[in-house]
Symmetry: C2
Subunit: 332 residues, 2 copies
């Protein structure tokens, strides 16, 4: 297939071809202002015939908003973020907005650099994960004047809009559940908490609730790197090597918990009678494992959807708590 080299058709050429002025073509195309039906037909005919594709770069420069929505997210490996993008994407497409994204790899410095790069596109809004940003990020966002949505967290101060749920509270709920179920020798297997601040908040909430109930975490195993099923499996193996008599383990998320669960299956450790397993996120796969995973379901797609709606409707600054749901499952 050969590709044309000659420059794209412009609005001026359409105007010329239709025998009308440029502004008339513009009005017809955006269906804004007034024009006769006959003019409209002539313009549309020319548009069709020439294969005209409006240039939104030029349009954006000439008018106001870019209708570009910038997502600066920590990761694409963790299904949480594709889920959020998915929820947002449908709303944005339906409202003629365009999603743009970059990945920070849970690095706040990188986030700052990526936000800075995004702002050069003059987006309508910047969508971030959580409340922990560098001073520079906040300053740039502030100066940009564009809307900001902080997603997937509620434990902190919002810059503008925030949509999500409380991670700390999810951690508390998890601990309360395990305690209520009678588990006493509880351990934790998690991934790098220094970068994933929301996982840290869950952990903190979990420990706090455990403390309030008069108990304490027996031991914890922190795996380096991102969360993964494999890390969960290895982490549990290591934790049990140190503390074989644990009766329950709280994992930093479902990926990790599935790894732990698989470890139990593979080693004949009865779940939950010998060891209970509890996760976080409520991934679909956890509903279909031989024993459904006990976990917390988070509204990830919904978070994206609501975040996008707030942006396209230019809603006033607000915090939207979408909550979460405990799934009892069969592993705890």
């Amino acid at each position: 297939m050969e590709f044309r080299q000659h420059p794209a058709v412009t609005l001026a050429e359409v105007a010329e071809a239709a025998g009308v002025g440029e502004s008339t073509v513009s009005r017809v195309l955006r269906n804004h202002g007034s024009f006769s039906r006959e003019t409209r037909d002539r313009v549309m005919e020319a548009v069709e015939r020439l294969g005209y594709v409006p240039n939104r770069i030029a349009g954006t420069l000439a008018s106001a908003g870019s209708r570009l929505v910038a997502f600066v997210i920590p990761s694409l490996s963790n299904i949480v973020f594709p889920d959020v993008l998915r929820g947002a994407s449908s709303v944005l497409e339906a409202n003629q907005h365009q999603a743009v994204f970059s990945v920070t790899d849970y690095d706040a410095e990188r986030e700052e650099a990526l936000v800075a790069a995004m702002l050069a596109w003059r987006p309508t809004a910047v969508m971030l994960a959580g409340f922990e940003h560098t001073e520079g990020t906040v300053r740039r966002l502030h100066a940009s004047g564009c809307r900001v949505v902080e997603m997937l967290d509620l434990d902190g101060a919002a810059l503008d809009l925030a949509v999500g749920f409380s991670n700390r509270s999810a951690g508390c709920t998890s601990a309360d559940f395990l305690v209520k179920r009678g588990y006493r020798r509880i351990g934790y297997v998690g991934h790098d908490l220094t970068r994933d601040t929301r996982a840290r908040k869950r952990f903190d909430g979990f420990c706090e609730a455990l403390g309030s109930a008069g108990f304490a975490l027996v031991d914890r195993e922190i795996c380096t790197g991102a969360s993964s099923v494999e890390s969960g499996r290895l982490g549990l193996e290591r934790l049990l090597a140190r503390k074989p008599d644990l009766d329950a383990v709280y994992f930093s998320n479902d990926d990790m918990a599935l790894g732990g669960y698989f470890h139990c299956l593979a080693h004949g450790i009865s779940v939950p009678s010998k060891l209970a397993v509890f996760g976080y996120n409520g991934l679909d796969i956890g509903r279909v494992t031989p024993q459904p995973l006990s976990t917390i379901r988070t509204p990830r797609v919904e978070t994206g959807r609501v975040a996008a709606e707030l942006v396209v409707t230019d809603a006033p600054p607000q915090v939207v708590d979408l909550g979460f749901e405990l799934i009892e499952g069969a592993t705890a």
Copy 2:
């Protein structure tokens, strides 16, 4: 937090503040052309002081390429596509390109509409999944003159650039493997093949290779909707209800296969002695299940990476076969 209302700082204001001409600021900022060290410092000082953020909308309009790369992908639920985006994203960010995306939901008509919308942003390249597009999509892409990368498939004619692996061949390889292992009563559990043309190509290749070996598929179960672990589990259950004596099942991908495997675990069906399970994709989770999943590993992240590299280097039209790898696993 309050957001500023006054318009963003412009290059002209920076020039004024630094006491130099606009083009000098432009040169300094893009580090292109010549200017004295002293001038550079004065400009940078003004940039810092005013908090100037270059406007890439204006920059793009004035110069050549937008450095926007448009991904029009079938889904974000299927981890395949986030993986591709991930691979591409790192390369694009390192080369000052910006990723934009839309989701077609495996609908060719939607793909056409989304490609049309994308082209209005005058992207450097449009990245698509596979070779099956509507005539309109092809026409628009052709007329746009922008680069096109068709990813994750090799069985078909490329429009411009193509990066991936042969799905048909992967299907063949899977069948050959099962036959070589001695399985004879083989079934298939898949998701909607009319929309996911790559899954169909795998299926076709599988059946063909089975035929060449002198065997035929005993039965198949096609689940409606997208692939999922749950569909795989239900699909296998239904298939076994009809054909209890199957000795192996080929699934449309790892999600489906995991569902099937979980069904076996839950119902005491020995894998692989009673029933073998074979998937596609080589997801990490399949490496950590009690028995590692037998499957085909596909280079998804690599596909995204290479696709992005071809685009940023403006490579000539070509087809890049990244191949795939059989993982023997323990479920077949």
